[in-house]
Amino acid sequence: MSDAVCSLLSCAMDEERVFGLSEYEGAPARWCAGCGDHSILAAAQRLLVEEQLAPEHTVFVSGIGCSSRFPHYLKTYGFHGIHGRALPVATGIKLSRPELDVFVVMGDGDCCSIGAGHWVHGIRYNMNMVVLLMDNNIYGLTKNQTSPTTPEGYASNTQPQGSYLAPLNPLSVTLGVTNASFVAQTADWVPAHLFATLKAAYRHKGLAFVRILQRCPIWTPDIFRQAVIDPERTQVLHHPAGIEAPEIDEIYTNRIEHDPSDLDAARTFARTSENVRIGLFYRDASRPRYEETRHLPVFTAEQRMEALNAELDRHAV
């Protein structure tokens, strides 16, 4: 993912270092038992091990919410910022240090409500990073308020008569934004597919947007129940250029063929349907990446002063 030259220090990696799982384990996760976030954390740690990412070279940026506690449970660099604003922080990190591996973790309130503006623009910047939307269809941390992805009619503490509006579809929104380059969906209860998706996302050059359907047994225990117990309710997007998770083929037999280079088809399949659809909706690695269009030029103090001196000449009396 990162081939840019490190500008801040010599980050030549020690060939001998091998990272095991314990190298990535932070504080013990404090999510509720049965929370889908546990399985997403496990998949992320597996990815870190498999890709052997140097912990000091990896940054997980999050907002505020249950899901945003994620970085605390890892032993990489973490930035647990403010609600809805993970993407601007990640943009600043990537813009100034493109060689770092950056992951962004957001909840559905974080990404699709308070941070929706940054979401749209983040997709457009298409910086090389992995963006995980942990979508439990509810505000978890603040105890059961309707989120933009809550199903219509679903009761919460703020809308006890049931939510008034049809939910926003994060896949359709993302696929509608100029410069979208990687859009996938997976679910916390299909670990093999979840891992394969994270891996494909990490390998993608550009912003890889992954919506992860995430169970919250506390506030939305029934939302994904049918999909969890009945594999037939899950349609797997299949294609040689898609996400490969052969382990699930036996159980998840409801498949649709979809070429991830076909944006129109991706938009069609992304539409809300009876079934849950997982897989790679769209990928285009040729989209321009903002950190390459706008990279920080490297100048020494002396070079800058020389250039500044020349600029002062223009104002000289």
Partner: protein, 625 residues
Amino acid sequence: MTTRTTASPRLETLPEHTVEVVSDSGEGAQKCGQIFGSVSAKMGNGCWTVEIIPAEIQPPARTPGSASGVRIRIGSEPITNWGDEARLVVALNEQVLLARHRMDALAEDAVILIEDMWATHSDESIRAAWDAAMKEMSGRAYRFVRVPIEQQTLTLTDNPRHGKNMFILGLLAWIYDRDLARVRKQIAHEFRKKSAEVIERNVALMELGVSWAEANVPFRFAVPPPDEQPEMVVMNGNQAIALGAIAAGLELCAMYPITPATSVSHYLGEIFDSVGGIVHQAEDEIAAAGVAIGASYAGKVAFTVTSGPGLALKTEFIGLAVMAEIPLVIVDVQRGGPSTGMPTKVEQADLLAALYGQPGDAPKVVLAPSTMEECFHCMITARRIAEALRCVVVVLTDANLATGVTPFPRPALDARWHSRQPDQRPVTETERPYAWDERLGLSRRFIPGQRGGMHTLTGLAHDEASHVTYAADVNQRASTMRSRKLAVLQSTLLAPPIVGPAEGDLLLVGWGSTKGAIEEAAARARHEGLAVSSTHLSFLSPMQPGLKEIFKGFNQVMTVELNYSDRPGDPFITEENRRRGQLSLLLRAQTLVDIDCWTRVPGQPLRPGQILEEVRERLAKGDAR
């Protein structure tokens, strides 16, 4: 220096003079004024140029609302503010002149060169408007000189809208005895992106103005420059901020367009790439703050530049930077508020927002440059402090500094202004990301890429290891440590200098762009025999030391500020409920001295004469404390 000398008996030598050029917007008055100002500065004159900006981009022509232009105050000594009334005005129509008249911007006996075609215009309503305007202004002793500006301009160009300003430049160049070679050179510079033909025509128009003035204008003013002065540069405050940012080694400017801050990024956008930086135009001010914070967290030094409404949006991110001790420089080019307020006009009303805008206790450093030169240097200071203290530094400038143009001594660049790269040595097992020094509150910053430094930064209350905790003692200590840094900084600051005697009847206290006007007013008061001194604060948080001691020397202390305060004596206003000027409020709280304030929100810089009047009145009342 090759100034033209003339033996003309009409030549009046003056220590300073204030000129205005006003026109409908789009007629190039500002360009004309800029060239006149630049040439004057280059001849060695003190000079202060301020734009007169209409509220709309294309207001209807020939209305007082369309008055657009520029004021240039030149002097033999350095000029520190825009002065009082204009003594000479060139107006392209009587309506824009009327606007200035109504604003009391013109001296009682101002010389007015006015386009005369309106007086005899074929349109009856225009002639009527002219007559009405002249009648309205007839109470003053203005000295009118009618100039056929358009008619003259048409002899050299078909489109007088793009040419009258150069003809006027010629008038001014003759009246003020400017060095014509420099004027020609400056025209070529200002129009360097245009064709040679355009430049030649503009030079010819200027020369036409010179000869017309020579033949027709019955007076001249000489404002001789001093013989010697250091090497100077001329720029506005926003350019100085931009160049200061470069000098400070800042590499990333994240911003969202907002008047009057935007021109910092316009200028940086033009040059930053070639000096090792980038401008990131974010999707909003919140994102701009987030991007700057992200970059700073990652070890680069970033800043964000905004104005009032943008500062409001950045509030939550600023709180995060304070809490997580991320170095951040924020420039707030203040405009009139609240809300959208007066976007193009000056005010100093964000002081309390800068200090106290965050919910919770969020100690941060607040600086206020008071001149264009300080705009440059304060960026270096701001970066230094932000990194040394792992803190947020807010730089408060304003629309007056942002758009005013003035010469100042060329900064002697020093590569050491670029602070050292952050310490990147591997972090040992026992080190902590907030290992606060018990006395100083300082701690070593770990940066992504740095081995062993991995931790999760958080805006939640945290301990030395950056672990979230709500333990009472930890929160008390962490809050103390974040606050202590300001006291440590304060211990390194000097008391502000007193201009004038250290004892007297009245001390004026100011901050930011009002410095020149306040000092000029105090100097004039002293000249009249009044015991008035002034002092000016450049640090607002923490406050400079020694203030209480300074205040003891005076019977009265009064701040002079461009923000709102209730006037004593107004209905319902009492000593108890009176809302006070922002600096005075802070000083009262900090020093327990009964400090009064005199503040205004005219949307314009203060005039020294206005301040002087208030000073006289106060001292005449003799209401000693």
